[in-house]
């Protein structure tokens, strides 16, 4: 029994007693069941397992604290109407916003944050971390930490461009289909059906094998693959709006299609479209990361998270977690966007699950 183990149980039991005394039943159940589970974990895994639990709980508490502080910060700096909305945000959503904010900072200020250039060879291959390199060197002796920072710019930037393109293509086609109807609607609908009936990764691989892997091709291929999703949603949302009386009135006034889309339909369908943009970004980001991992995405020497995982994967068989960091960066951003989207969907649909 080390000091750590005694302290661990003492802290847990004290915290559960406090929770029970102040009638916080949820917190009490959580803390006390953690205590009981820790007995089993402690017996099986010993002190290291308990240390892992502590680290995990600490990280969770840190994340929760940061998100809470960030949410308060946002509430204070935003206008009253927006601040009222933000107050309803759950902690997960503000955590998501915090992560997105951090990534944006890293991407925009990459050359100032990163200590070395993205393709600058500064040491020997797979050199271990030292005071010059936070995470060590990759297979060519480039600083992994700098490459991760630059990766925020390249990987996220590419995904963002592809998403924007997919979104504009899909939303434009969807709005036109809803307004025009008839053969245009039918044609676009069938086209979307065909594209969606091929698994996205397979379709992307087929197209990239034909057109080669340069950035423009990737953006267009990915945009074409994911635009049918946006098309369907926009078509459905706009389809519900075009049958409204005020659209009829606008038509009778003699307004054109473009006016209808811009002034009548779009303002009434922003909420689901914004949420869809977030989801779409996640799909596109994961697809591009997958392609890069397969060596078919962004080509070296440009730093990119997906290909960094692939290049340094050999380190994993030596028990080194460095190659997992770029992969974790991908996962973290996707989770963050999903958290924010979850909240926005919940808010826009008024979906109150009883």
């Amino acid at each position: 029994m080390s000091i750590f183990v005694i302290g661990y149980y003492a802290a847990l039991i004290a915290a559960s007693c406090l929770a029970a005394y102040y009638k916080k039943h949820g917190a009490f159940m959580l803390l006390f069941s953690l205590t009981l589970v820790s007995f089993i974990i402690g017996i099986i895994g010993g002190v290291p397992a308990l240390r892992a639990v502590t680290t995990f709980a600490g990280a969770l508490a840190l994340a929760a604290g940061t998100s809470y502080a960030f949410k308060e910060f946002l509430i204070l700096i935003s206008k009253p109407a927006l601040a009222k909305e933000l107050r309803t945000a759950p902690l997960t959503a503000s955590f998501g916003m915090f992560v997105i904010f951090t990534y944006a900072i890293a991407a925009i200020f990459a050359p100032w944050i990163a200590p070395h250039g993205e393709s600058e060879v500064i040491s020997s291959a797979f050199a271990p971390p030292d005071e010059n390199m936070l995470l060590g060197a990759d297979q060519l002796g480039r600083d992994i930490f700098s490459r991760i920072i630059y990766g925020a710019r390249n990987s996220v930037g590419l995904a963002l461009v592809a998403t924007l393109l997919a979104f504009f293509m899909g939303a434009f086609a969807g709005l036109m289909a809803a307004v025009k109807g008839g053969w245009f609607d039918q044609l676009m609908g069938r086209l979307a059906d065909v594209i969606m009936s091929i698994p996205s990764l397979i379709f992307a691989l087929l197209m990239l094998s034909i057109f080669g892997t340069n950035l423009g091709v990737i953006v267009i291929v990915v945009a074409v693959i994911y635009s049918p999703r946006v098309f369907r949603l926009t078509r459905a949302v706009a389809g519900n709006i075009v049958v409204m009386d005020y659209i009829e009135a606008a038509k009778l006034r003699g307004e054109g299609d473009w006016y209808l889309i811009r002034r009548e339909i779009l303002p009434n369908s922003t909420a689901p479209l914004v949420a869809e943009f977030g989801l779409e970004f996640c799909f596109v980001f994961l697809l591009i990361a997958g392609l890069s991992f397969l060596g078919l995405g962004i080509q070296p020497p440009t730093a990119d998270w997906g290909s960094m995982v692939r290049e340094n994967a050999t380190l994993i068989s030596f028990g080194d977690i460095t190659p997992l960091i770029p992969a974790a960066a991908i996962a973290l951003l996707t989770v963050a966007v999903n958290f924010v989207v979850d909240w926005m969907l919940f808010r826009s649909s008024g979906l109150k699950e009883q």
Partner: protein, 318 residues
């Protein structure tokens, strides 16, 4: 009943039509190559004679629609032509790997389907409790992670650090069934993690939708015990969405399997496809794409037919 079979056949016909259109797309996409296949494979430096010889060999002198019909007729009989790189028959390269891939997908599905349905129902019943919130965050994380991230984490902790399972899923022909299961456990587990998360969320949503309907409220108000509300009243109607969820996620497995096979160096069709794309070996790429797309369409078809069979309301489209 005749009404029902005609509806199912109509859906099957639609699926077949989609497959046909997809096959046209897959075949003619290659025609979009600048120049043609022979030029693309041999590169700029090739002499006119070699390019012509290859054209002759591939039958490129015939018009594209004729070649398409030829290819389709071959594909239906399981003959996809000859690999451009190795010169072997594509079908022989694919057949064994396809079985491996199916085995991996089936292995993952056998674990994931029961777990995720049970967990999905439990989470739906315990909705808005702490357990539900934690499950929500965990499934969201698992969905958001790229497959290779989960795969490498599993390799790191279950293979490198503890040595419980092999990191590379290389297969030998003389392996026993249990050794096979042990060797392919990590790739299967990676797929299970991703698919379970999807299925749990979808099952939860389906069940919650159902529990909000008035007849469930009625059953509850008349004093039926909770388990009976679920088993007698909710579950018969829940089968349709659950079958749908399972089929859709099996279709999802088809794409997930490509990345997982590459991570674990598993000799399946996904890895073959990735290699072929890198080498620009078009017959193999086309064959793999067609097989993946066909499986995907078939599973989606099964989801629809299952929904029609279990939900009488869908039999009378408005």
């Amino acid at each position: 009943m005749g009404d029902l079979t005609s509806l199912v056949f109509k859906r099957l016909g639609l699926g077949l039509l989609t497959l046909l259109v997809v096959s046209i797309l897959i075949f003619f996409a290659v025609e979009l190559l600048p120049g043609d296949i022979a030029q693309a494979v041999l590169g700029q430096g090739a002499t006119e004679e070699t390019v012509n010889a290859m054209r002759q060999q591939l039958g490129l002198d015939r018009p594209a629609p004729v070649r398409y019909l030829d290819w389709l007729a071959g594909a239906v009989q399981g003959d996809f032509g000859v690999s451009l790189v190795s010169g072997d028959r594509v079908s022989s390269a694919i057949s064994e790997r396809f079985i491996n891939t199916l085995f991996l997908a089936a292995y993952a599905a056998a674990i994931a389907v029961p777990i995720s349905i049970v967990l999905g129902v439990v989470v739906a019943l315990l909705r808005n409790t702490l357990f539900d919130r934690v499950a929500n965050v965990l499934t969201l994380t698992s969905i958001s992670s790229p497959e290779f991230f989960l795969g490498y984490i599993l390799i790191l902790y279950l293979s490198v650090k503890t040595g419980m399972f092999p990191a590379l899923a290389s297969l030998k022909s003389d392996m026993g069934f249990f050794e096979l299961l042990h060797r392919t456990f990590l790739p299967a587990l990676t797929l299970v993690l991703v698919v379970t998360a999807h299925m749990m969320r979808m099952t939860r949503a389906a069940i919650i939708n159902l529990l909000a309907s008035p007849y469930i409220e009625m059953a509850r108000l008349k004093g039926t015990p909770p388990w009976k509300v679920i088993v007698r009243h909710a579950l018969p109607n829940a089968w349709a969405p659950i079958i749908n969820v399972v089929a859709l996620n099996l279709a999802y497995l088809i794409t997930g399997v490509v990345l997982v096979e590459v991570v674990f160096v598993y000799p399946g069709i996904g890895q073959l496809l990735v290699d072929a794309v890198a080498k620009r070996d078009f017959p193999i790429v086309q064959a793999c794409c067609l097989i993946f797309a066909a499986t995907f369409i078939l599973l989606n078809l099964m989801a629809d037919v299952g929904a029609i069979l279990t939900n009488p309301r869908l039999r009378h489209p408005k």
